[in-house]
Symmetry: D3
Subunit: 338 residues, 6 copies
């Protein structure tokens, strides 16, 4: 349905075949990339200055939107997600207190540095290799501004690779990852795409960005998915055995001896009853409370996180899944900020 | 339902009342504004260079998204519109030829400089006065790149004021405006808001940016609306008499003796049967073909235009109104480019 | 889907067969009917006193809701319509001025006496014969309060019979009726039901309550419908010939020599593109503007009217058809009040 | 979206400022209130006589609808709920037996006294203080008719205050309350509104109408909510600890030593997966079976109850949440009647 | 979204590469094809016998469903259309009389021979060349049974090629075609597919099955579409000039000197306001009444017809577009039968 | 809403009363029945030959669609279900591996023999007695082709009677049945219909086709349902006690000493949160994972099964319930095939 993905690039391929010089193109593209990063830097800087001026925060969640949908294998609606999640976070139908009492209205708890201009970058003919670098750089610009920590709004799951790469590189070592998902996203490549949303965790494990990778909610996994899991030493918790694993998962202690914990939440880890607005409807998943029970009881220093794969084009008219995504962002914020 | 509007500002009011210095705030805000404009400039430059390199274009439509919804008096969904209109423009369900045979795939006909980062600017505590200036500056940056002409994707109708101001100032004189709308949008202020989407044409007429203003599709107008119309010499064509006015409107000749014609299309000029995805459902409007008949037969040099008030939160699940907005953008593109 | 219809009565039949005396039942039912009418009377009285106290009104539209859906042959959703139409009339998305400039906020133009408690009356085991009398009495109680004139919110179309009967009886003679509908509603009986929404105009013509009956928008009519039309001298304008009849219909002069004009608008006279929220989707109908053109140009003293057959259970999520119904009520109000 | 709330009153404020005497207004309003209560009385009387004539019932649930939505802080759709719940109770898609075998078709188990005419009362300019009294009086009129007990259909949650006040006053002492909700609704006032749906339980506790108040399903609570809870000795069971509290809650024994148990069910106590048609979507709630398990095992004399906050404007097209509300009403009926 | 298209074939390709003999496969496929045609034959025979036994019919419309969606270039939902159109034809919400008085309940006017088992044939690995032959043979089997004439329910528009081929071959010469569509469907091939729904009329013209081809409603046409039109002598009536062409089109006389008239209605000829449930939303189309005016006034012997491209997956929940398709089938039936 | 049910028969009753001989009718009907069965036979034969040629399969699931909806007491949408379930089984949004690792792409695991042409058979005036025989015969034709085992796609639940009858008769003795449902479907007759979807298990038990019948998920049951249960020795597991029964149900061992196990899954056994697209919304049901836990742990030789009561007309726009049905079919396939 969506053509966001295919468009950007072949538009510029046409230019290449015309009498437009490659040098002119590349120069212009670099100027656009530089300006994009400058804008992220300035917004992060302003927010960082404010949090520091207010004082007292050791760690502070800062939203960064990555409206990227073209690495999805099925639908590309997650490109529209970040503004919808933000709207839901501040929706008048609820208040600004998290379940355990953090006040989101306090900028020391939550700020926002806006979106990486993904669509514009692609429309300038910039390929995924460079785009992924822009995303990584953007995450690092946020982390530069102590005490800000990145809480990324997807986008499809392909964005977790550049984000976690940046977190690990910036912190100087691997992290432990708690990954909630219906799928392991660990194909070597999907339909030839190394940056596919079904391959991000293969990239992450190859890069050495994670020590432990715990995958929870898994219920759509192929032989390759299981083999790749073994190859990389992934701890895969399938839904088939969730009732047995539940006690273990509700008492996790992660991140010690490494640079901390990263939490990546794919909304399709939830049963579609709880999160219908996703591209890949896979019945038999977690309940919302299951996730909060795991999250609230998680021990460890959460250095970053993401909430991905909201597809607003499949959500209910009243945006129920956006509210679900927003509440996960809120509770992750409470976990990160201190 | 939406709280996009209220949020931005009072968040920073809170900061003001804390021990954060006003100077620090303003300096940071200025850096963010500068970086935002730099990014627009670089994207416009790249697109302009390409069109010029390809050669042969005298006038070329260039999309500029303005995702601003907070000046709406009812719903704020138009803030989500620009990416949805773009998706629909390139949707695989149709081809890239306009009704009269223009090829949209040709960059000399249509390019895109992306969105003004409206939400991020507001989230930095920047008020509407400065935001409106950023929008005007962005339009001028597009016009700087000959032969690009701005075709703006709203956003609510409040954006037409800064856009038309920029067009007129840049061209050095007034234009004629063809304005399709259910409402005259000419209140002096609406609920105290001078920048309301119901007041944009009052601002435009006061500023002297238009010689003639033709309003077509009008069917929700108060006594004040009629008085303001008279005061500013507006030519108001109400739906009540459309069957009589049709011949005149399908043979318009505008823009001679001034700097050209600007076309502003509010989607609620259409009957809600044709465009259900708008905030202000007002039965009894134009058919889609009525608008195309007016547009195709319009004689004049179209120097810019906008398509506003798409509210994706009220659209059908298959985005019918986004397709309607997209086709209006496509046909306007054909009118602008040469 | 709906069981509103069948329920009421057989519940009390069960009581009859138990050891509950018929006298006790009937006495209780009469007390409920009396109290229902007293409540309508008091509300009409209060509104009438106010309009008279304000002074200057010769005729003033007063809403009366009749939430009756059980005489529909297909779906019973119109029982839920009156509160939805009221909400749409006052919806913030539009203003309070009609197309020709009447101010609905002025109580001399529009008041509201609330709903006949149809569902409660039926739940007390009261049959349709007595219910129709309650509706007629309610209309007369409104008309008692000079200068109030009844503008009835349906409900299914069966309500037009008791309403028009009351109008004619109260005024002391027949009226002319402008009836917009996809169907003639003139079966002698439908599936044995004399009070069916498909038979109301047979009852009206038999009762001598109308001199002329003009039916506009007709496009679903059987042989019986045409024969009954001839039998009663009905002027049936079918959609097949609307383009030829349009001029005549846009220049109607009615009600002279009788007690005035009554306008009955079934929403399915509109094409379902304009009014999807109806029980009987019948493509090929009028546009909204077609109806307004007929209405605005109608000459005659409009003594009452109704807007019927809105089915909220089939409306779009944003209530587009409720908005359509509301605008028809608004424009009818302008026609009635003076 | 809805303007039900604001409208009623300021319409009459306008009258006050005109030359309409306050005495005339108040006299008319009092007549309307008296007639409204008379109508409730007569309906209750008829139903009471029937149940007594049939004999054998010690306690019998009787529905009373309170279509009030204007005290909601976000959306006002609950004003449309009572007729939708009734339709669902009798929907042909299910039978008339409750899970434990009660026959709802038996009038000794369930009768209906209809709705309090809330909208009409407000449209007569009557303020919330007097409206709340009308609601309380209506509940007492039901209780007057032995063995009827009130089972109230909301409406927003503000109605629980006048209902429980009436129950307690009529019985002559406090009750124990089982309150299922995502929110504690115990603000002292919300946005200045003492009658807000977010403040009803503050009013109830202040009035001394409850001995114990157990709140179950809580997951959106602010610091003030927790403080007010402590202040009034409320037993707050948060969802965070539901897996631990479950055993206790599935074995409740309440109401001994006081006048009985009142059960108030806010549909948003359910997770939005189970009840999407509510104004305040708050993920992480109870399952439908969780509620039934608590209810079926509750020991105590249930003297009244309510099911509130259904918002039909946010329900699925097939009315899933209305079916959920209806089943809760059915099972509560089984609990009350004996 | 749909994978109906790709699946069938490559499933059997896999078998080919396994140790399954090609002969075994082909023999089985032929048996399935023969049995499919036998079933169509027997159903047509039974219906033909009945109509002849009743006597008096010279020409009688007979429905044949072709649930084929895989030759669509965008969505494949039309594969689900035939049962939905049938349901709508007989829906209780309307009666069985056409606008001009034909009785559809009379089997001499309308019978039904059911569906070609398209999906099962494809699932047996049968390719499009043979499938198209099965469709042609099925049409001929209907025509064999005098006085039955085929009225085909699509499916996507690719089916018009095998249907019209069969009609022409069976009648022994070309027909005139009235083709209502937003697109000319006359590409030589679309994305390499000679059987694409965008190429059917190229196949028809190449085959010499039509003398005149009138295309009405065209508003999405490329340079190739216009060139192919000229090459084949097609009379293309574009929406741009419809107001001028209307008189001509409402007075058509076709089919004299050839074997009769065939009417092919693509639902996207209608504006999406009137027919939202189509795959290719193209604003600016015909109204439903426009089509009926053309059809009712068409002079000529209509020997067959089709209604195609209903996509139930994009229709409104109440199936408005299915009702539109059904009414077109009903009115076409009236045109065919005599 | 749907009229599929009533239509077929009375259409032919009309013929009977005309001058059409009963012999002619019956002969034609028999030819249609024979041809229908021949087509099923040929498709089953081809699929059987292929599976045998590939070798190695002992038991292999083969889909058979039965699009029958007219024996439903409420809505008839299940007649549209089989093609929607098939589409969902092969939807690109998921892969072809079951939770425990079976590959559905392997024809030895899953084939498809298409649909019984139920609608066409009924439209030929064939009554339910003969139709039920056609369904039974079709199932036997599948079982004829070793190693195929029938996995039936409903249709409403009335189809389980002819299917299980055929399985038992073909295998030569009773089976054990695991029946997941909100209702026991064991009325002697429902509204006089012996073939009602509410009576199928009464027919099955009377016929001696089952030794044990375990009903799981029950939560809508009348006194008659409980009595019939006792009469036939049915093991009814009600939702009220599911938390206690869970351990037993997750460790079932069935089918020993009889001909095997048959699994019949009515989608309304699931809570409507998990399966909204059903005709009978009955809150308080199983979660999707509850069913998989029972199914995955079931020990026994599964000789056949069905998934019934999907109503696509009540499903979400994205077909969530079709995905749920498809996953149940996939996991049942894994259970059957070996």
């Amino acid at each position: 349905m969506s053509t966001i993905g295919r468009r950007g690039i072949h538009y510029f391929q046409k230019l290449n075949s015309a009498n437009v010089s490659a040098a002119l193109l590349e120069k212009g593209q670099n100027r656009v990339i530089d300006a994009s990063l400058t804008l992220i830097r300035e917004r992060a800087k302003l927010k960082g200055e404010l949090v520091r001026a207010l004082g007292g925060a050791v760690a502070s969640a800062s939203l960064l939107g990555v409206p990227l949908g073209h690495n999805s294998s099925f639908l590309q609606g997650p490109a529209f997600a970040p503004p919808r999640i933000r709207e839901a976070i501040w929706c008048d139908s609820t208040n600004s207190t998290t379940e355990e009492g953090k006040e989101l209205n306090d900028p020391r708890v939550l700020t926002d540095v806006g979106d990486v201009p993904v669509q514009e970058i692609r429309d300038c003919g910039i390929d995924d290799y460079r785009l992924m670098n822009v995303i990584s750089e953007s995450v690092k610009l946020v982390m530069e501004e102590d005490p800000l920590r990145p809480l990324v709004l997807g986008g499809d799951h392909s964005i977790s690779f550049p984000v976690i790469r940046a977190v690990s590189e910036k912190l100087g070592g691997p992290v432990d990852i708690l990954h909630l998902d219906a799928h392991p996203d660990i194909y070597d490549a999907f339909e030839g795409n190394k940056y596919s949303h079904a391959s991000s965790f293969a990239r992450i494990m190859e890069g050495g960005y994670a020590r432990r990778l715990l995958q929870v909610g898994i219920r759509s996994i192929t032989a390759e998915g299981r083999e790749q899991g073994k190859r990389f030493g992934v701890e895969q918790f399938e839904m088939r055995t969730f009732s047995k694993d539940r006690h273990f998962l509700e008492n996790l202690k992660l991140g010690e001896g490494v640079k901390g914990v990263y939490v990546s939440i794919d909304l399709d880890s939830l049963d579609p009853a709880f999160a219908p607005g996703v591209s890949h409807i896979e019945p038999g998943g977690l309940s919302f409370r299951d996730i909060l029970n795991i999250l609230h009881n998680l021990q460890g220093d959460v250095v970053g996180g993401d909430v991905v794969e909201l597809n607003p084009q499949r959500d209910t008219v009243d945006g129920m899944t956006a509210m679900v995504a927003a509440k996960l962002v809120r509770e992750l914020t409470a976990k990160i900020s201190k």
